[in-house]
């Protein structure tokens, strides 16, 4: 928008040039109702009259000609016109919520989840919550799994995921990798053999309903084993004259395994209850089978040891896909990945390979089996472009960074590219929405989240300062540092 005279006369009439981008046409159907069509079929002549858009034309642009849409907010241009999305398209083809810090991404995602659950009774939602901020939004419909309540037995982790934990994220040597692989396989085989050789134990038979033949067990097979068995195997190797692996490697591995098994922060992986074959119970609880009226699982990662977070996300994403895959289409789950750029970064040398693979697999193939992805990020330019391109619907909130805006521009249809130019000037809770679930790109303001009666918003949302730390709180912090449960 420019004034060609490069001047402005107050109180007088000024000539102004307005740039517009054409993106569709409204035609009246035989009954006289306006219908919107994307693209331009015939171009106007010079001198054609530009006018304020009719309200009915505006409504027809954002109407869902025959499709079911749910209201998620109002158009910025006219707050009497609802902004609607198709839940089916939103969930089945993945979506992304993008915006810089503090623009209301979390609240927006929670509102979208509420709408999705209201529209799809059989839908589950798994929220990967790195900052422990989602639980308060779903007090009655979610279970919250934190460092105290999460159960994820170590033997359910694949070999690569265990490598990440055992070696604290560093790249191990070939000897270390080979030794760990052999060790896990031997411990699993030893445990399975012991179980098989004690068939008279009725409890054992119940606990181990589907253990494969011991010859089919690999380090990736999710069957139980004991850390004690693994340490015994290591002791046996170290006692041999002809050692397969260097002694320092085996000694360091033994020390690390013993430390992990004793560390209270890893209780969710190595606790006593993790030795029995409780896989069915663990899966049922995390993935809400049945839902028991709580279809949302919030996995709070903030209290978990940093070196284990990537592996936990990898296990959860991988299992969500596998359950949907083998569930024969009878299981629908949306995996909401907050701070997605941490797990699926653009730079393949960063992040954790198995996590990238697991989330990438959901992005690429998930819609065929009923598992969908909700990507939430403030840095789309740092996100794996493959995952971005798989998100068919995007809600882009205020975004000042030019590199991030370039990613959005590339995701938009050419005819709508100009809307990127005002991404940096959007208000809080305002967004540009576009993609498969939306008839045409729209600038909209999200509705407020609906909280159950008696549920108060978190302090940071209400604008209230957090209560000051007292002397007693220091002991609470120390207890948490030492991994002692309870507040």
């Amino acid at each position: 928008m420019t004034a060609p005279d490069k001047a402005w006369a107050s109180g007088a009439t000024n000539n102004v040039l307005i740039k517009v981008e054409l993106n569709g046409v409204v035609l009246d159907d035989p009954e006289g109702k306006p219908r919107f069509y994307r693209g331009i079929q015939a171009y106007p002549r010079l001198g054609a009259i530009a006018h304020r858009i009719r309200a009915t034309d505006l409504a027809s642009i954002y109407a869902f000609n025959g499709r079911v849409g749910i209201e998620i907010g109002k158009l910025s241009q006219d707050d009497r016109i609802p902004a609607k999305v198709s839940v089916e398209e939103l969930v089945s083809r993945h979506f992304a919520v993008i915006g810089s810090t503090g623009v209301g991404k979390t609240t927006t995602v929670c509102m979208l989840i509420q709408k999705i659950l209201a529209a799809r009774s059989n839908q589950r939602v798994l929220i990967i919550d790195p900052h422990n901020e989602f639980a308060s939004h779903f007090p009655d419909t979610s279970i919250v799994l934190d460092s105290d309540s999460l159960e994820l037995p170590f033997w359910m982790f694949k070999f690569e995921e265990m490598v990440e934990i055992i070696f604290s994220g560093r790249k191990p040597s070939t000897d270390e990798t080979d030794a760990l692989y052999d060790l896990i396989k031997s411990a699993k085989t030893r445990f399975s053999s012991a179980q098989t050789s004690a068939p008279s134990n009725a409890l054992s038979a119940v606990r181990r309903p589907a253990t494969p033949e011991t010859g089919n067990i690999s380090a990736d097979t999710p069957v139980p084993y004991r850390i004690a068995d693994a340490i015994q195997v290591l002791d046996g190797w170290m006692g041999k004259l002809d050692q397969t692996y260097p002694l320092p490697v085996m000694r360091a591995m033994k020390n690390r395994l013993e430390a992990l098994a004793r560390d209270p922060r890893y209780r969710f992986m190595f606790g006593k209850a993790m030795i029995e074959d409780n896989m069915a119970r663990v899966i049922s609880k995390i993935f809400r089978i049945p839902t028991d009226d709580k279809p949302v699982t919030v996995v709070q990662l903030a209290g978990l040891p940093n070196e284990v977070v990537n592996s936990v996300v990898s296990v959860l994403a991988r299992m969500a896909f596998d359950i949907s895959l083998w569930g024969g289409g009878g299981y629908q789950i949306a995996v909401i990945c907050e701070e997605a750029h941490r797990y699926i970064p653009k730079d393949s040398s960063l992040g954790f390979g198995p996590t990238r693979t697991a989330i990438g697999r959901i992005a690429k193939e998930g819609r065929k089996y009923g598992v969908s992805l909700g990507v939430v990020t403030q840095r789309p330019s740092e996100l794996d472009p493959t995952v971005v391109s798989q998100c068919s619907t995007m809600f882009v909130m205020r975004l000042p960074n030019e590199a991030d805006k370039a990613i959005i521009r590339s995701a938009l249809a050419e005819s709508s590219g100009s809307i990127v130019s005002f991404l940096s000037s959007l208000a809080d809770r305002e967004a540009i929405a576009f993609g498969e679930a939306i008839p045409t790109p729209m600038r909209m303001r999200f509705a407020n989240i609906v909280r159950p009666p008696g549920v108060t918003p978190p302090a940071h949302e209400a604008g209230a300062p957090a209560p000051a730390l007292t002397g007693a709180d220091v002991f609470r912090v120390i207890r948490r540092l030492r991994g002692e449960s309870g507040d």
Binding site: T13, N14, V26, A50
Partner: protein
């Protein structure tokens, strides 16, 4: 502080609220067109209601029986 409470839009009312006879819907004229991008010349006075030209808002351009929709950018 006076807050105007507006009722939800009834689509069937064919934009009655925008058909105020005292308010012309004509905003300007197309003076340039390059593929998907057009340039509209208009006259603006300080006291006139110019919110239709806010970036991101939609306007329409009359062409025979059709109304082409454009976004202000």
């Amino acid at each position: 502080m006076n807050i105007e409470v507006r009722q939800p839009l009834n689509i069937e009312e064919t934009g009655r609220h925008l058909r105020d006879p005292t308010k012309s819907r004509v905003l300007g004229h197309l003076i340039s067109l390059n593929g998907m991008h057009g340039l509209i010349a208009t006259d603006i006075t300080v006291d006139s209601s110019n919110d239709q030209w806010s970036v991101g808002h939609l306007i329409s351009i009359q062409h025979d029986g059709a109304r082409l929709v454009g976004v202000v950018c």
